[in-house]
Protein backbone atom coordinates (compact mmCIF):
# COMPACT_ATOMS: atom_id res chain seq x y z
CA UNK A 1 0.00 0.00 0.00
CA UNK A 2 2.68 2.47 1.06
CA UNK A 3 4.83 1.19 -1.77
CA UNK A 4 2.11 1.89 -4.28
CA UNK A 5 1.44 5.35 -2.87
CA UNK A 6 5.14 6.16 -3.01
CA UNK A 7 5.39 4.93 -6.58
CA UNK A 8 2.35 6.94 -7.52
CA UNK A 9 3.85 10.03 -5.90
CA UNK A 10 7.17 9.56 -7.69
CA UNK A 11 5.42 9.21 -11.04
CA UNK A 12 3.24 12.23 -10.37
CA UNK A 13 6.35 14.28 -9.62
CA UNK A 14 8.16 12.98 -12.70
CA UNK A 15 5.28 13.78 -15.04
CA UNK A 16 4.71 17.12 -13.31
CA UNK A 17 8.39 17.93 -13.67
CA UNK A 18 8.37 16.89 -17.32
CA UNK A 19 5.43 19.17 -18.12
CA UNK A 20 6.89 22.00 -16.03
CA UNK A 21 10.23 21.71 -17.84
CA UNK A 22 8.62 21.57 -21.27
CA UNK A 23 6.15 24.41 -20.60
CA UNK A 24 8.38 27.36 -21.53
CA UNK A 25 9.60 25.62 -24.67
CA UNK A 26 6.07 24.87 -25.84
CA UNK A 27 4.88 28.38 -25.05
CA UNK A 28 7.71 30.03 -26.93
CA UNK A 29 7.05 27.85 -29.96
CA UNK A 30 3.32 28.59 -29.80
CA UNK A 31 3.86 32.32 -29.37
CA UNK A 32 6.08 32.44 -32.43
CA UNK A 33 3.02 31.72 -34.56
CA UNK A 34 1.04 34.52 -32.91
CA UNK A 35 -1.24 36.34 -35.35
CA UNK A 36 -0.89 39.61 -33.40
CA UNK A 37 2.20 41.41 -32.12
CA UNK A 38 1.39 40.67 -28.45
CA UNK A 39 2.18 36.97 -28.04
CA UNK A 40 -1.33 35.68 -28.47
CA UNK A 41 -1.48 31.95 -28.68
CA UNK A 42 -2.35 30.90 -32.22
CA UNK A 43 -5.88 29.85 -31.35
CA UNK A 44 -7.60 31.82 -34.09
CA UNK A 45 -5.19 31.16 -36.92
CA UNK A 46 -1.43 31.07 -37.05
CA UNK A 47 0.99 33.38 -38.74
CA UNK A 48 4.46 32.75 -40.08
CA UNK A 49 5.29 36.38 -40.64
CA UNK A 50 7.51 36.66 -37.53
CA UNK A 51 9.87 34.10 -38.95
CA UNK A 52 10.41 36.20 -42.04
CA UNK A 53 11.40 39.13 -39.83
CA UNK A 54 14.17 37.37 -37.91
CA UNK A 55 16.80 38.28 -40.46
CA UNK A 56 15.76 41.93 -40.45
CA UNK A 57 16.46 42.38 -36.75
CA UNK A 58 19.16 44.96 -36.21
CA UNK A 59 22.58 43.30 -36.01
CA UNK A 60 21.21 39.77 -36.09
CA UNK A 61 23.44 38.19 -38.75
CA UNK A 62 26.80 39.40 -37.37
CA UNK A 63 25.76 38.28 -33.88
CA UNK A 64 24.72 34.82 -35.09
CA UNK A 65 27.89 34.44 -37.08
CA UNK A 66 30.05 35.53 -34.13
CA UNK A 67 28.33 33.13 -31.72
CA UNK A 68 28.67 30.21 -34.14
CA UNK A 69 32.35 30.97 -34.72
CA UNK A 70 33.08 31.25 -31.00
CA UNK A 71 31.19 28.04 -30.17
CA UNK A 72 32.83 26.09 -32.99
CA UNK A 73 36.40 27.24 -32.43
CA UNK A 74 36.33 27.10 -28.63
CA UNK A 75 34.74 23.64 -28.68
CA UNK A 76 37.29 22.38 -31.18
CA UNK A 77 40.22 23.72 -29.18
CA UNK A 78 38.75 22.46 -25.91
CA UNK A 79 38.20 18.98 -27.36
CA UNK A 80 41.82 18.70 -28.47
CA UNK A 81 43.43 20.19 -25.35
CA UNK A 82 40.96 18.68 -22.88
CA UNK A 83 41.26 15.19 -24.34
CA UNK A 84 45.06 15.26 -24.35
CA UNK A 85 45.09 16.37 -20.72
CA UNK A 86 42.48 13.74 -19.79
CA UNK A 87 44.63 11.02 -21.39
CA UNK A 88 47.63 12.09 -19.34
CA UNK A 89 45.51 12.14 -16.18
CA UNK A 90 43.74 8.82 -16.75
CA UNK A 91 46.92 6.92 -17.58
CA UNK A 92 48.23 7.70 -14.12
CA UNK A 93 51.76 8.58 -15.22
CA UNK A 94 51.29 12.25 -14.52
CA UNK A 95 52.64 13.44 -11.19
CA UNK A 96 49.77 14.97 -9.16
CA UNK A 97 47.20 13.76 -11.67
CA UNK A 98 44.28 14.08 -9.29
CA UNK A 99 45.07 17.67 -8.32
CA UNK A 100 45.50 18.61 -11.97
CA UNK A 101 42.17 16.98 -12.82
CA UNK A 102 40.44 18.98 -10.09
CA UNK A 103 42.10 22.16 -11.34
CA UNK A 104 40.98 21.58 -14.94
CA UNK A 105 37.37 21.06 -13.85
CA UNK A 106 37.32 23.85 -11.24
CA UNK A 107 36.10 26.69 -13.54
CA UNK A 108 32.78 24.81 -13.68
CA UNK A 109 31.91 25.92 -10.17
CA UNK A 110 32.95 29.50 -10.87
CA UNK A 111 30.07 31.95 -11.33
CA UNK A 112 30.29 32.99 -15.00
CA UNK A 113 29.96 36.63 -14.10
CA UNK A 114 33.03 36.47 -11.84
CA UNK A 115 35.05 34.85 -14.60
CA UNK A 116 33.85 37.59 -16.94
CA UNK A 117 34.96 40.49 -14.76
CA UNK A 118 38.22 38.74 -13.86
CA UNK A 119 39.08 38.35 -17.55
CA UNK A 120 37.95 41.89 -18.32
CA UNK A 121 40.27 43.29 -15.68
CA UNK A 122 43.13 41.01 -16.66
CA UNK A 123 42.91 41.74 -20.38
CA UNK A 124 42.80 45.47 -19.65
CA UNK A 125 45.82 45.14 -17.42
CA UNK A 126 47.93 43.33 -20.01
CA UNK A 127 46.63 45.69 -22.71
CA UNK A 128 44.85 43.02 -24.72
CA UNK A 129 41.84 44.56 -26.42
CA UNK A 130 40.99 42.51 -29.50
CA UNK A 131 37.37 41.66 -28.76
CA UNK A 132 37.14 38.58 -30.99
CA UNK A 133 40.25 36.91 -29.58
CA UNK A 134 39.36 37.90 -26.04
CA UNK A 135 35.95 36.28 -26.47
CA UNK A 136 37.46 33.14 -27.95
CA UNK A 137 39.90 32.76 -25.06
CA UNK A 138 37.12 33.38 -22.52
CA UNK A 139 34.90 30.80 -24.20
CA UNK A 140 37.80 28.35 -24.15
CA UNK A 141 37.91 28.75 -20.36
CA UNK A 142 34.16 28.02 -20.36
CA UNK A 143 34.32 24.95 -22.61
CA UNK A 144 37.60 23.35 -21.53
CA UNK A 145 36.30 22.19 -18.11
CA UNK A 146 33.24 20.57 -19.73
CA UNK A 147 35.47 18.57 -22.04
CA UNK A 148 37.97 17.76 -19.28
CA UNK A 149 35.22 16.48 -16.97
CA UNK A 150 33.50 14.31 -19.55
CA UNK A 151 36.72 12.95 -21.03
CA UNK A 152 38.32 12.17 -17.66
CA UNK A 153 35.15 10.26 -16.72
CA UNK A 154 35.08 8.47 -20.09
CA UNK A 155 38.77 7.61 -19.99
CA UNK A 156 38.58 6.28 -16.44
CA UNK A 157 36.34 3.55 -17.87
CA UNK A 158 38.67 2.95 -20.81
CA UNK A 159 40.77 -0.20 -20.70
CA UNK A 160 44.30 0.82 -21.61
CA UNK A 161 45.25 -2.79 -22.38
CA UNK A 162 43.35 -2.23 -25.62
CA UNK A 163 46.15 0.13 -26.64
CA UNK A 164 48.74 -2.47 -25.66
CA UNK A 165 46.86 -5.12 -27.59
CA UNK A 166 46.90 -2.92 -30.70
CA UNK A 167 50.63 -2.31 -30.28
CA UNK A 168 51.44 -6.00 -30.05
CA UNK A 169 49.36 -6.50 -33.19
CA UNK A 170 51.59 -4.09 -35.11
CA UNK A 171 50.32 -0.56 -34.42
CA UNK A 172 52.66 2.28 -33.54
CA UNK A 173 51.73 4.09 -30.33
CA UNK A 174 50.01 7.02 -32.10
CA UNK A 175 48.41 4.51 -34.47
CA UNK A 176 47.03 2.51 -31.56
CA UNK A 177 45.55 5.66 -29.99
CA UNK A 178 43.90 6.59 -33.28
CA UNK A 179 42.58 3.13 -34.17
CA UNK A 180 41.46 1.93 -30.73
CA UNK A 181 41.11 4.73 -28.22
CA UNK A 182 39.41 7.32 -30.42
CA UNK A 183 36.54 5.01 -31.52
CA UNK A 184 36.03 3.72 -27.98
CA UNK A 185 35.83 7.25 -26.66
CA UNK A 186 33.61 8.59 -29.43
CA UNK A 187 30.49 8.75 -27.19
CA UNK A 188 32.27 10.80 -24.52
CA UNK A 189 33.79 12.94 -27.23
CA UNK A 190 30.40 13.65 -28.75
CA UNK A 191 28.79 14.40 -25.39
CA UNK A 192 31.64 16.73 -24.44
CA UNK A 193 31.49 18.47 -27.81
CA UNK A 194 27.72 18.91 -27.73
CA UNK A 195 27.58 20.36 -24.25
CA UNK A 196 30.56 22.64 -24.63
CA UNK A 197 29.18 23.94 -27.94
CA UNK A 198 25.84 24.72 -26.29
CA UNK A 199 27.55 26.24 -23.23
CA UNK A 200 29.52 28.58 -25.46
CA UNK A 201 26.64 29.40 -27.82
CA UNK A 202 24.33 30.28 -24.92
CA UNK A 203 26.90 32.06 -22.76
CA UNK A 204 25.89 35.49 -21.56
CA UNK A 205 27.57 36.30 -18.22
CA UNK A 206 31.16 35.92 -19.47
CA UNK A 207 30.69 37.45 -22.92
CA UNK A 208 28.91 40.59 -21.72
CA UNK A 209 32.12 42.01 -20.26
CA UNK A 210 34.30 41.33 -23.28
CA UNK A 211 32.23 42.71 -26.15
CA UNK A 212 32.63 46.01 -27.90
CA UNK A 213 30.17 48.01 -29.97
CA UNK A 214 30.65 45.97 -33.11
CA UNK A 215 31.35 42.56 -31.55
CA UNK A 216 28.22 41.27 -29.83
CA UNK A 217 27.23 37.64 -29.42
CA UNK A 218 23.72 36.40 -30.11
CA UNK A 219 22.67 35.98 -26.43
CA UNK A 220 23.72 39.58 -25.74
CA UNK A 221 21.76 40.79 -28.75
CA UNK A 222 18.74 38.74 -27.70
CA UNK A 223 18.69 40.08 -24.16
CA UNK A 224 18.95 43.55 -25.60
CA UNK A 225 15.96 42.92 -27.92
CA UNK A 226 13.92 41.48 -25.05
CA UNK A 227 14.60 44.49 -22.83
CA UNK A 228 14.05 47.04 -25.59
CA UNK A 229 11.14 45.81 -27.68
CA UNK A 230 9.92 42.27 -27.20
CA UNK A 231 7.78 41.05 -30.08
CA UNK A 232 6.99 37.62 -31.53
CA UNK A 233 10.01 37.86 -33.83
CA UNK A 234 12.07 36.95 -30.78
CA UNK A 235 9.83 33.97 -30.11
CA UNK A 236 10.38 32.91 -33.71
CA UNK A 237 14.14 33.23 -33.32
CA UNK A 238 14.01 31.32 -30.03
CA UNK A 239 12.00 28.60 -31.72
CA UNK A 240 14.61 28.30 -34.45
CA UNK A 241 17.38 27.96 -31.84
CA UNK A 242 15.27 25.34 -30.03
CA UNK A 243 14.68 23.46 -33.26
CA UNK A 244 18.41 23.39 -33.96
CA UNK A 245 19.03 22.12 -30.41
CA UNK A 246 16.44 19.39 -30.91
CA UNK A 247 18.13 18.30 -34.14
CA UNK A 248 21.50 18.17 -32.35
CA UNK A 249 20.02 16.14 -29.48
CA UNK A 250 18.28 13.69 -31.78
CA UNK A 251 21.48 13.19 -33.73
CA UNK A 252 23.40 12.58 -30.49
CA UNK A 253 20.73 10.20 -29.28
CA UNK A 254 20.99 8.21 -32.51
CA UNK A 255 24.76 8.10 -32.20
CA UNK A 256 25.20 7.64 -28.45
CA UNK A 257 21.89 7.25 -26.61
CA UNK A 258 20.57 9.80 -24.14
CA UNK A 259 20.64 7.44 -21.17
CA UNK A 260 24.36 7.00 -21.69
CA UNK A 261 24.82 10.76 -21.90
CA UNK A 262 23.00 11.06 -18.58
CA UNK A 263 25.70 8.84 -17.13
CA UNK A 264 28.64 10.59 -18.75
CA UNK A 265 27.24 14.08 -18.34
CA UNK A 266 27.78 14.08 -14.62
Amino acid sequence: MINRLATLFAWAMAIGAALFLLAPLIVIAAASFSPTPVFDLPVDGASLRWYTRIGQMDGFWPALSLSLQLAAFSTLLALVLGTLAAIAIAQGRLPGAEAIGTFLVSPLMMPGLVLGIALLQYFRMVGFNAAWSALLLAHLVVTLPYVARTMIAGLSRFDFTLVEAARTLGCTYPGAILKVMVPALAPSFLTAGLFSFLASFDNYPVSIFLTDVRTKTLPIKMLQYIEEAPDPTLAALSTCILAATVVLLIASDRLVGLHRMAGTGQ
Binding site: R167, L169, G170, G175
Partner: protein, 363 residues
Protein backbone atom coordinates in the same frame (compact mmCIF):
# COMPACT_ATOMS: atom_id res chain seq x y z
CA UNK B 1 72.96 -19.95 -27.17
CA UNK B 2 72.17 -23.14 -29.00
CA UNK B 3 70.80 -23.27 -32.53
CA UNK B 4 67.37 -24.25 -31.28
CA UNK B 5 66.89 -21.45 -28.77
CA UNK B 6 64.05 -19.43 -30.26
CA UNK B 7 63.45 -16.98 -27.46
CA UNK B 8 66.23 -15.94 -25.12
CA UNK B 9 65.96 -13.64 -22.12
CA UNK B 10 69.33 -12.89 -20.61
CA UNK B 11 69.98 -11.30 -17.21
CA UNK B 12 66.81 -9.22 -17.39
CA UNK B 13 66.08 -6.93 -14.43
CA UNK B 14 63.29 -4.48 -13.85
CA UNK B 15 62.68 -2.17 -10.93
CA UNK B 16 59.69 0.01 -10.19
CA UNK B 17 60.82 2.63 -7.72
CA UNK B 18 62.32 0.77 -4.78
CA UNK B 19 60.85 -2.65 -5.67
CA UNK B 20 62.81 -5.10 -7.77
CA UNK B 21 60.21 -6.89 -9.84
CA UNK B 22 62.63 -8.94 -11.92
CA UNK B 23 66.08 -9.90 -10.69
CA UNK B 24 68.58 -10.97 -13.41
CA UNK B 25 66.29 -13.53 -15.02
CA UNK B 26 67.57 -15.98 -17.65
CA UNK B 27 65.15 -17.93 -19.80
CA UNK B 28 65.66 -19.89 -23.04
CA UNK B 29 62.83 -21.41 -25.02
CA UNK B 30 63.06 -23.69 -28.05
CA UNK B 31 60.98 -23.34 -31.20
CA UNK B 32 57.65 -25.09 -30.79
CA UNK B 33 57.90 -25.29 -27.03
CA UNK B 34 55.04 -24.45 -24.63
CA UNK B 35 56.36 -22.91 -21.43
CA UNK B 36 54.45 -21.67 -18.39
CA UNK B 37 55.57 -18.98 -15.98
CA UNK B 38 53.98 -20.04 -12.71
CA UNK B 39 54.00 -18.13 -9.47
CA UNK B 40 52.02 -16.14 -6.93
CA UNK B 41 50.94 -12.58 -7.70
CA UNK B 42 53.82 -10.17 -7.52
CA UNK B 43 56.44 -12.80 -8.45
CA UNK B 44 57.34 -10.96 -11.66
CA UNK B 45 55.78 -13.35 -14.17
CA UNK B 46 53.58 -10.74 -15.85
CA UNK B 47 56.46 -8.27 -15.95
CA UNK B 48 58.63 -10.87 -17.68
CA UNK B 49 55.87 -11.42 -20.22
CA UNK B 50 55.58 -7.67 -20.81
CA UNK B 51 59.34 -7.44 -21.37
CA UNK B 52 59.08 -10.13 -24.02
CA UNK B 53 56.11 -8.39 -25.65
CA UNK B 54 57.91 -5.04 -25.60
CA UNK B 55 55.21 -3.42 -23.45
CA UNK B 56 57.87 -2.72 -20.84
CA UNK B 57 61.61 -2.24 -21.22
CA UNK B 58 64.16 -4.04 -19.02
CA UNK B 59 66.53 -1.92 -16.94
CA UNK B 60 69.33 -4.33 -17.71
CA UNK B 61 69.67 -7.48 -19.81
CA UNK B 62 68.41 -8.43 -23.24
CA UNK B 63 65.59 -10.18 -25.07
CA UNK B 64 65.97 -11.87 -28.43
CA UNK B 65 63.34 -13.58 -30.54
CA UNK B 66 64.12 -15.83 -33.50
CA UNK B 67 67.78 -14.84 -33.41
CA UNK B 68 67.06 -11.07 -33.45
CA UNK B 69 67.89 -8.83 -30.51
CA UNK B 70 64.61 -7.05 -29.76
CA UNK B 71 65.50 -5.52 -26.38
CA UNK B 72 64.84 -1.97 -27.62
CA UNK B 73 62.37 -2.82 -30.40
CA UNK B 74 58.86 -1.36 -29.85
CA UNK B 75 56.02 -3.88 -29.54
CA UNK B 76 54.57 -3.29 -32.98
CA UNK B 77 57.80 -4.39 -34.65
CA UNK B 78 58.32 -7.57 -32.63
CA UNK B 79 55.82 -9.86 -34.30
CA UNK B 80 54.51 -11.35 -31.09
CA UNK B 81 50.91 -12.39 -30.40
CA UNK B 82 49.46 -11.57 -26.99
CA UNK B 83 46.26 -12.93 -25.45
CA UNK B 84 45.46 -10.55 -22.62
CA UNK B 85 43.96 -11.36 -19.27
CA UNK B 86 40.56 -9.81 -20.02
CA UNK B 87 41.13 -10.37 -23.75
CA UNK B 88 41.32 -6.62 -24.59
CA UNK B 89 39.06 -7.11 -27.59
CA UNK B 90 38.22 -3.90 -29.43
CA UNK B 91 34.58 -3.18 -28.58
CA UNK B 92 33.99 -1.06 -31.68
CA UNK B 93 34.98 -3.84 -34.10
CA UNK B 94 33.24 -7.08 -35.04
CA UNK B 95 34.75 -10.50 -34.44
CA UNK B 96 36.26 -10.49 -37.93
CA UNK B 97 37.34 -6.87 -37.48
CA UNK B 98 39.26 -7.80 -34.35
CA UNK B 99 40.97 -10.76 -36.01
CA UNK B 100 41.81 -8.71 -39.13
CA UNK B 101 43.23 -5.81 -37.08
CA UNK B 102 46.87 -6.96 -37.02
CA UNK B 103 46.85 -7.77 -40.72
CA UNK B 104 45.19 -4.49 -41.67
CA UNK B 105 47.79 -2.43 -39.83
CA UNK B 106 50.41 -4.50 -41.66
CA UNK B 107 48.70 -3.34 -44.88
CA UNK B 108 48.24 -6.83 -46.27
CA UNK B 109 46.09 -7.08 -49.42
CA UNK B 110 42.36 -7.46 -48.77
CA UNK B 111 42.05 -10.97 -50.17
CA UNK B 112 44.94 -12.20 -48.06
CA UNK B 113 43.42 -10.65 -44.94
CA UNK B 114 40.08 -12.27 -45.61
CA UNK B 115 41.66 -15.67 -46.09
CA UNK B 116 43.80 -15.35 -42.96
CA UNK B 117 40.80 -14.26 -40.86
CA UNK B 118 38.77 -17.21 -42.12
CA UNK B 119 41.61 -19.57 -41.34
CA UNK B 120 42.16 -18.20 -37.83
CA UNK B 121 38.45 -18.23 -36.99
CA UNK B 122 38.09 -21.80 -38.35
CA UNK B 123 40.96 -22.85 -36.10
CA UNK B 124 39.06 -21.67 -33.02
CA UNK B 125 35.70 -22.91 -34.40
CA UNK B 126 34.15 -19.45 -34.61
CA UNK B 127 33.78 -19.08 -38.38
CA UNK B 128 30.01 -18.72 -38.05
CA UNK B 129 30.26 -15.72 -35.71
CA UNK B 130 32.56 -13.55 -37.85
CA UNK B 131 30.16 -10.62 -38.21
CA UNK B 132 28.95 -10.55 -34.61
CA UNK B 133 29.79 -7.61 -32.36
CA UNK B 134 32.13 -8.46 -29.49
CA UNK B 135 29.50 -7.64 -26.87
CA UNK B 136 27.27 -10.47 -28.19
CA UNK B 137 29.82 -13.19 -27.33
CA UNK B 138 30.13 -15.36 -24.24
CA UNK B 139 33.33 -15.38 -22.19
CA UNK B 140 34.57 -18.57 -23.81
CA UNK B 141 33.89 -17.21 -27.29
CA UNK B 142 35.69 -13.96 -26.49
CA UNK B 143 38.65 -15.99 -25.34
CA UNK B 144 38.71 -17.78 -28.71
CA UNK B 145 38.49 -14.49 -30.61
CA UNK B 146 41.43 -13.15 -28.61
CA UNK B 147 43.38 -16.28 -29.53
CA UNK B 148 42.40 -16.04 -33.21
CA UNK B 149 43.42 -12.38 -33.26
CA UNK B 150 46.84 -13.24 -31.85
CA UNK B 151 47.28 -16.20 -34.21
CA UNK B 152 46.24 -14.36 -37.37
CA UNK B 153 49.48 -12.39 -37.65
CA UNK B 154 51.52 -15.62 -37.49
CA UNK B 155 53.63 -14.38 -34.58
CA UNK B 156 57.10 -15.68 -33.74
CA UNK B 157 55.93 -16.28 -30.21
CA UNK B 158 52.50 -16.36 -28.55
CA UNK B 159 52.11 -14.87 -25.08
CA UNK B 160 49.17 -15.65 -22.78
CA UNK B 161 48.64 -13.45 -19.73
CA UNK B 162 46.32 -15.35 -17.36
CA UNK B 163 44.34 -15.98 -20.52
CA UNK B 164 42.08 -18.66 -19.07
CA UNK B 165 41.57 -17.31 -15.57
CA UNK B 166 38.31 -15.51 -16.39
CA UNK B 167 36.58 -18.72 -17.53
CA UNK B 168 34.68 -21.02 -15.22
CA UNK B 169 36.35 -24.24 -14.14
CA UNK B 170 34.75 -26.67 -16.59
CA UNK B 171 35.21 -24.42 -19.61
CA UNK B 172 38.78 -23.70 -18.53
CA UNK B 173 39.65 -27.39 -18.45
CA UNK B 174 38.11 -27.92 -21.89
CA UNK B 175 40.01 -24.96 -23.31
CA UNK B 176 43.29 -26.19 -21.80
CA UNK B 177 43.12 -29.44 -23.71
CA UNK B 178 41.85 -27.87 -26.89
CA UNK B 179 44.43 -25.10 -26.88
CA UNK B 180 47.29 -27.47 -26.24
CA UNK B 181 46.27 -29.63 -29.22
CA UNK B 182 45.85 -26.63 -31.46
CA UNK B 183 49.16 -25.01 -30.50
CA UNK B 184 50.87 -28.35 -31.14
CA UNK B 185 49.19 -28.65 -34.56
CA UNK B 186 50.42 -25.27 -35.71
CA UNK B 187 53.80 -25.80 -34.03
CA UNK B 188 53.50 -22.57 -32.05
CA UNK B 189 56.03 -21.33 -29.54
CA UNK B 190 54.06 -20.09 -26.56
CA UNK B 191 54.51 -18.71 -23.06
CA UNK B 192 51.64 -18.85 -20.56
CA UNK B 193 51.55 -16.77 -17.43
CA UNK B 194 49.39 -18.23 -14.68
CA UNK B 195 49.02 -18.68 -10.96
CA UNK B 196 47.00 -21.87 -11.53
CA UNK B 197 49.26 -24.90 -11.05
CA UNK B 198 46.85 -27.33 -12.76
CA UNK B 199 46.90 -25.17 -15.86
CA UNK B 200 50.70 -25.02 -15.73
CA UNK B 201 51.11 -28.78 -15.31
CA UNK B 202 48.62 -29.77 -18.05
CA UNK B 203 49.45 -27.17 -20.70
CA UNK B 204 53.19 -26.96 -20.87
CA UNK B 205 56.33 -28.78 -21.92
CA UNK B 206 58.27 -26.95 -19.25
CA UNK B 207 57.25 -24.89 -16.23
CA UNK B 208 59.21 -21.98 -14.78
CA UNK B 209 58.30 -21.51 -11.14
CA UNK B 210 58.85 -17.87 -10.22
CA UNK B 211 59.23 -16.25 -6.85
CA UNK B 212 60.43 -12.81 -5.80
CA UNK B 213 61.49 -11.79 -9.30
CA UNK B 214 63.57 -14.92 -9.95
CA UNK B 215 62.98 -18.25 -11.63
CA UNK B 216 63.27 -20.86 -8.86
CA UNK B 217 63.08 -23.86 -11.15
CA UNK B 218 62.63 -24.45 -14.87
CA UNK B 219 61.78 -28.04 -15.68
CA UNK B 220 59.22 -30.44 -17.10
CA UNK B 221 55.94 -30.54 -15.16
CA UNK B 222 56.65 -34.05 -13.82
CA UNK B 223 60.04 -33.01 -12.45
CA UNK B 224 58.61 -29.85 -10.93
CA UNK B 225 56.15 -31.98 -9.00
CA UNK B 226 58.27 -35.01 -8.22
CA UNK B 227 61.64 -33.37 -7.73
CA UNK B 228 61.01 -29.81 -6.51
CA UNK B 229 64.28 -27.92 -6.38
CA UNK B 230 63.28 -25.66 -3.53
CA UNK B 231 60.96 -25.48 -0.60
CA UNK B 232 59.04 -22.74 -2.47
CA UNK B 233 58.35 -25.01 -5.45
CA UNK B 234 57.37 -27.85 -3.15
CA UNK B 235 54.87 -25.61 -1.42
CA UNK B 236 53.50 -23.82 -4.45
CA UNK B 237 52.94 -26.90 -6.59
CA UNK B 238 50.88 -29.69 -5.08
CA UNK B 239 50.38 -30.82 -1.49
CA UNK B 240 53.08 -32.10 0.81
CA UNK B 241 54.04 -33.21 4.31
CA UNK B 242 56.76 -31.02 5.85
CA UNK B 243 58.54 -31.80 9.09
CA UNK B 244 61.39 -29.73 10.54
CA UNK B 245 64.43 -31.48 12.02
CA UNK B 246 68.21 -31.58 12.52
CA UNK B 247 70.65 -33.66 10.45
CA UNK B 248 72.52 -36.22 12.56
CA UNK B 249 74.51 -38.02 9.86
CA UNK B 250 75.20 -37.92 6.13
CA UNK B 251 76.03 -40.88 3.93
CA UNK B 252 76.35 -41.01 0.15
CA UNK B 253 73.49 -38.67 -0.81
CA UNK B 254 71.16 -39.49 2.06
CA UNK B 255 70.84 -37.88 5.47
CA UNK B 256 69.46 -39.07 8.76
CA UNK B 257 67.33 -36.40 10.44
CA UNK B 258 66.10 -36.12 14.00
CA UNK B 259 62.48 -34.84 13.98
CA UNK B 260 59.57 -34.52 16.42
CA UNK B 261 58.07 -37.66 14.81
CA UNK B 262 61.23 -39.72 15.18
CA UNK B 263 64.29 -40.37 13.01
CA UNK B 264 63.69 -39.99 9.24
CA UNK B 265 65.94 -40.68 6.24
CA UNK B 266 65.88 -38.33 3.25
CA UNK B 267 67.79 -37.76 0.02
CA UNK B 268 70.09 -34.75 0.08
CA UNK B 269 73.53 -33.65 1.22
CA UNK B 270 73.84 -31.69 4.46
CA UNK B 271 76.50 -31.60 7.12
CA UNK B 272 75.39 -32.96 10.51
CA UNK B 273 73.82 -30.28 12.67
CA UNK B 274 72.04 -28.52 9.75
CA UNK B 275 68.46 -27.43 10.29
CA UNK B 276 66.33 -28.91 7.50
CA UNK B 277 62.74 -29.51 6.43
CA UNK B 278 61.96 -33.09 5.51
CA UNK B 279 59.19 -33.41 2.94
CA UNK B 280 57.27 -35.87 0.83
CA UNK B 281 54.22 -35.93 -1.45
CA UNK B 282 50.94 -37.36 -0.04
CA UNK B 283 50.56 -40.21 -2.58
CA UNK B 284 53.74 -41.89 -1.26
CA UNK B 285 52.36 -42.35 2.24
CA UNK B 286 50.76 -45.79 2.85
CA UNK B 287 49.70 -47.73 5.91
CA UNK B 288 53.07 -49.21 6.93
CA UNK B 289 53.91 -52.85 6.24
CA UNK B 290 57.40 -52.81 7.75
CA UNK B 291 59.88 -52.56 4.88
CA UNK B 292 59.52 -48.84 4.03
CA UNK B 293 62.48 -46.54 4.67
CA UNK B 294 60.49 -44.17 6.88
CA UNK B 295 57.58 -44.94 9.20
CA UNK B 296 55.66 -42.83 11.74
CA UNK B 297 52.94 -43.63 14.29
CA UNK B 298 50.07 -41.19 14.53
CA UNK B 299 46.39 -40.60 14.99
CA UNK B 300 43.88 -39.79 12.21
CA UNK B 301 42.69 -36.21 12.44
CA UNK B 302 40.42 -35.92 9.46
CA UNK B 303 39.45 -37.70 6.27
CA UNK B 304 38.42 -35.79 3.18
CA UNK B 305 36.62 -37.95 0.64
CA UNK B 306 37.61 -36.98 -2.92
CA UNK B 307 35.99 -39.66 -5.04
CA UNK B 308 38.47 -42.29 -6.11
CA UNK B 309 40.85 -41.18 -3.35
CA UNK B 310 40.74 -39.79 0.14
CA UNK B 311 43.01 -37.24 1.75
CA UNK B 312 43.90 -38.28 5.28
CA UNK B 313 45.43 -35.91 7.82
CA UNK B 314 47.40 -37.62 10.54
CA UNK B 315 48.77 -35.97 13.65
CA UNK B 316 52.08 -37.19 15.08
CA UNK B 317 54.41 -35.56 17.59
CA UNK B 318 52.78 -32.17 17.05
CA UNK B 319 53.34 -32.35 13.28
CA UNK B 320 50.88 -33.11 10.50
CA UNK B 321 51.28 -35.84 7.89
CA UNK B 322 49.22 -35.78 4.74
CA UNK B 323 48.42 -39.07 3.01
CA UNK B 324 46.45 -39.62 -0.19
CA UNK B 325 44.99 -43.11 -0.01
CA UNK B 326 42.98 -45.09 -2.60
CA UNK B 327 39.29 -45.46 -1.69
CA UNK B 328 39.40 -48.98 -0.27
CA UNK B 329 42.43 -48.28 1.95
CA UNK B 330 40.73 -45.25 3.50
CA UNK B 331 37.30 -46.85 3.82
CA UNK B 332 37.95 -48.54 7.19
CA UNK B 333 39.65 -45.47 8.73
CA UNK B 334 37.84 -43.29 11.23
CA UNK B 335 38.89 -40.05 12.94
CA UNK B 336 40.96 -40.64 16.07
CA UNK B 337 42.05 -44.12 14.91
CA UNK B 338 45.69 -45.13 15.48
CA UNK B 339 47.64 -45.50 12.24
CA UNK B 340 51.23 -46.21 11.20
CA UNK B 341 52.27 -44.59 7.92
CA UNK B 342 55.33 -45.47 5.87
CA UNK B 343 57.02 -44.11 2.71
CA UNK B 344 60.20 -44.76 0.69
CA UNK B 345 63.45 -42.86 1.23
CA UNK B 346 63.82 -42.00 -2.48
CA UNK B 347 60.57 -39.97 -2.26
CA UNK B 348 61.77 -38.09 0.82
CA UNK B 349 63.50 -34.75 0.26
CA UNK B 350 65.37 -32.48 2.61
CA UNK B 351 65.55 -28.71 2.13
CA UNK B 352 67.46 -26.18 4.16
CA UNK B 353 65.13 -24.74 6.79
CA UNK B 354 64.27 -21.09 6.09
CA UNK B 355 65.83 -18.74 8.60
CA UNK B 356 62.69 -16.68 8.89
CA UNK B 357 59.48 -18.45 8.11
CA UNK B 358 57.60 -16.45 5.50
CA UNK B 359 53.79 -16.54 5.52
CA UNK B 360 53.70 -18.90 2.52
CA UNK B 361 55.98 -21.38 4.21
CA UNK B 362 54.04 -21.24 7.42
CA UNK B 363 50.84 -22.07 5.57
Amino acid sequence: MSERDHLVVRQASKRYGATTVLDRVDLSIRRGELVTLLGPSGCGKTTLLRLIAGLALPDTGSVSIAGRDVTRVPPHKRNVGVVFQNYALFPHLSVAGNVAFGLNVRRRPKAEVRAAVEKALALVHLGHLAERPISALSGGQQQRVALARALAVEPDVLLFDEALSALDRKLREEMQGEMRRMLRDIDATAIFVTHDQDEALTMSDRVAVMNGGRIEQLAEPRLIYERPASLFTLNFVGLSTRIPGTVVSEDNGTVEVDTPVGRLVATGGFIPGSRVIVATRPEHLRPATGDEGNAVNGRVRSIVFQGSRSLVEVGAGGETLLAELPGQEAAHLAPDAEIRLGWPVRETFAFPAPELSTPELAA
